[in-house]
Subunit: 442 residues, 2 copies
């Protein structure tokens, strides 16, 4: 997790005296004097206040109104947050779980001296944040990268898949991947296709609130993710996150059927068109649906980590005329997933563009912006016409999963007919024959 | 509703003998003879069968295998489905409700002789489909157009708004607009902005299954929509559709807060980030939340029906590099609604494109692909950077509603600063200050 600095007025005032975050500063306003460590801003959009941690431990925000004087008292260029040393000892009899960190809110810890938030980089850091982890597994932690998840990219999916495969080859009971929540669903789908024939579970986990907040979901999510990695009976790529707003249980979602559905709630992740695979309650994994593949440490993972990034997800809407499709086809796109309306429709205005793209070799897959339900292009004339043009129906795949699958399939296969065949074939649970009505809005 | 014809092999075999749908044909296969009316195909994607309605009333599908002979017995060029005449009489004391038909599954009726589905065009047709309507209101029916809703367009929203305003000027207790379900949410938002200061309700309604199916939701939806138009206490643009899969009640959703969430379920429409406005149960309208505007027939509607169609909705995803934004800006787009991740983020890869677009005068609004929740671009650095570039936060608006609002605002105002101010201001309930957690996944 990157720290947010000052900007605008606050930044220029601080620059005048050469003060950086964690330097010792003094702000004087008439008879009031505030002296302490300069902290990161409380509200990153506000350039009118600076935050100082006083020697009594309190943080104060001071408004930079006329008359406020800033002085630099002492530089602190080598500032390093210190944490109490917690010995990491291997406990006999506990399963070995590997944690791979890619960034995001969960992989952070707070320095209690300064209040600043830092990436949790080592097994020791993780034990510091969540001491209970030491009772669940012997943890082996690796930082792969530390990025905001909105910057996740198909090329990075390949790196994560390779890193996971390496841990699996080393022989672990399960792998946990910490990830920002924004695009965790996409990465979960990507790993589902890239890591087939898994011997043990691969569990993505994140937090909606960072571990410096009292309401953080980080500790419980991380503990339950390690529990799933260590002892769940299945060997699939899953997401483990809060099941409701309280701290009573987490849900385990299949990587190809999961979606972030709320900007801020802790139970933001939901299985779509499918029940969750399991829940974790009081440290126990309870199955909620039938696993596709059971744990078997003797199995060798099949690593297929290449993704084609020349693939776009395009959402249609009233006024959509298809010119974006022409543009993408002209610049050499290999595949387009349409997020159509209803059962899989697009405006007739865009038909010529769709036809031209397909005729020039672009693979076009139809999904629905409804999110729940499934594509059926045989009901109305519009759907039939699109099928005749060569648009592939995406079944009950999420648009996001269809995008990832198309990137993966085009990364694996050269022959277009083979690509089309694979897109219509269920590989890892992404396409299901029947959807239960009870899987709506849960 | 358009009929679907034959294609491929079936079409060419029928053309050879000059047979069209509803002509009398005879198919001979060895000693088997099938004679009757040629019907539309049962499965529009299948070009291997033709359907014939025998004189005993049964439909049979006949496979066009080698040896099957087709003969044209009698042409039926003037085929017109006949319905029993139901007298439409004005009943004293009933409220007057205007129904404007734009197309879709609800505005159809079945000819029981042929099984074919036709648009229900007149008040008489509607009374034929749903005789109970005659007890609810004196209905005045108009066909504005008859299109699939995936072909709905901002220019057609203007026509609908003008047609509704005309009925309101004539003095009715409410207006019902029948509409295909695919894009009904977009049109509901469009009418919410185009028809302000309403005196009475404007109710959009559709059906997930056409009225020829035993499980059709058409009748109940239409009755409840007319009930809302005739007697609901509020004067807003709403959608009235099934509330659950049974036939126990319908829900009344605000036009700016509603979304189609399932490809096929009858309770596909859901209020997002807001409770529904009301439910209709056993003919009674029960309020579920506080109306924004109460019915007052003396009020004059404020018609603002112009929409700018040079506006796009663009969904970001891993691998999204912003080149689509450059393309749109170069071809003269006026506004872009981004469907970002989480609290309102986009990949840093796309930042230069977003900045260039804004600097060249394109209005860019951020919404979230999470669907539920609200944009908050002050939490993470990515959001703060986008705000600094001039991206407008879309609050808790649905991406679809933000698109429609931007089309409307750019259609109404020339001054860019005014456009930006309007986008950040609540006009008709599209932006709410607080979202209840209980409004998630309902």
């Amino acid at each position: 997790m990157e720290e947010i600095g000052y900007w605008g007025k606050a930044s220029s005032e601080l620059e005048k005296v050469g003060a950086s975050i964690h330097d010792r500063v003094r702000l004087t306003k008439g008879s009031l004097v505030f002296e302490g460590l300069l902290m990161p801003p409380a509200d990153p959009a506000d350039d009118n206040h600076v935050v100082v941690k006083l020697d009594n431990g309190y943080n104060v925000g001071i408004r930079l109104e006329p008359g406020v004087k800033i002085e630099l008292i002492a530089r602190n260029p080598s500032f390093k947050p210190e944490l109490p040393e917690v010995p990491v000892k291997v406990k006999e009899g506990l399963p070995k779980v590997s944690i791979i960190s890619t960034g995001g809110t969960i992989a952070s810890r707070v320095d209690y001296v300064t209040g600043a938030v830092y990436p949790a980089l080592t097994a020791r850091d993780l034990y510091n944040v969540v001491p209970e982890l030491g009772d669940l597994a012997n943890i082996d932690a690796h930082v792969l990268f530390s990025i905001f998840s909105e910057d996740m990219h198909p090329k990075l999916w390949s790196e994560i898949a390779e890193a996971v495969a390496k841990r699996l080859e080393d022989g672990v009971e399960g792998v946990v991947v910490t990830h920002g929540t924004d695009t965790m669903g996409y990465t979960a789908a990507a790993l589902s296709f890239a890591l087939q024939d898994l011997p043990v579970p691969v569990v993505l986990v994140g937090a909606q609130r960072s571990s410096d907040r009292p309401s953080s979901d980080a500790a419980m999510n991380l503990m339950d993710a390690v529990t799933v990695a260590a002892k769940a009976p299945f060997a699939e790529v899953v997401v483990t996150m809060h099941g409701e707003v309280g701290d009573t249980y987490t849900l385990v979602h299949r990587g190809v059927k999961v979606r972030k559905c709320h900007t801020s709630r802790r139970d933001t992740f939901r299985s779509i068109n499918s029940p969750p695979l399991a829940k974790v309650e009081k440290g126990e994994v309870v199955l909620l649906s039938r696993p596709h593949r059971l744990r078997d440490r003797e199995r060798r993972v099949s690593l297929k980590a290449k993704f084609e990034d020349k693939v776009s997800l395009v959402k249609v809407h009233p006024g959509f005329d298809g010119s974006i499709i022409d543009y993408l086809a002209e610049k050499g796109i290999k595949g387009i997933v349409l997020e159509g309306t209803g059962l899989g429709h697009a405006p007739h205005l865009s038909f010529n563009s769709i036809k031209r793209a397909i005729d020039s070799g672009v693979v076009v897959v139809m999904t629905s912006q409804c999110i729940w339900g499934r594509i059926n292009m045989n009901v109305y004339r519009t759907g039939v016409e699109l099928l005749r043009m060569g648009v592939l129906p995406g079944g009950d795949m999420l648009p996001e999963t269809a995008l990832v699958k198309l990137m993966w399939t085009l990364g694996q296969y050269r022959d277009l007919e083979e690509v089309k065949r694979i897109m219509l074939t269920n590989l890892v649970g992404e396409l299901t024959e029947r959807t239960q009505h009870s899987d709506y809005l849960r």
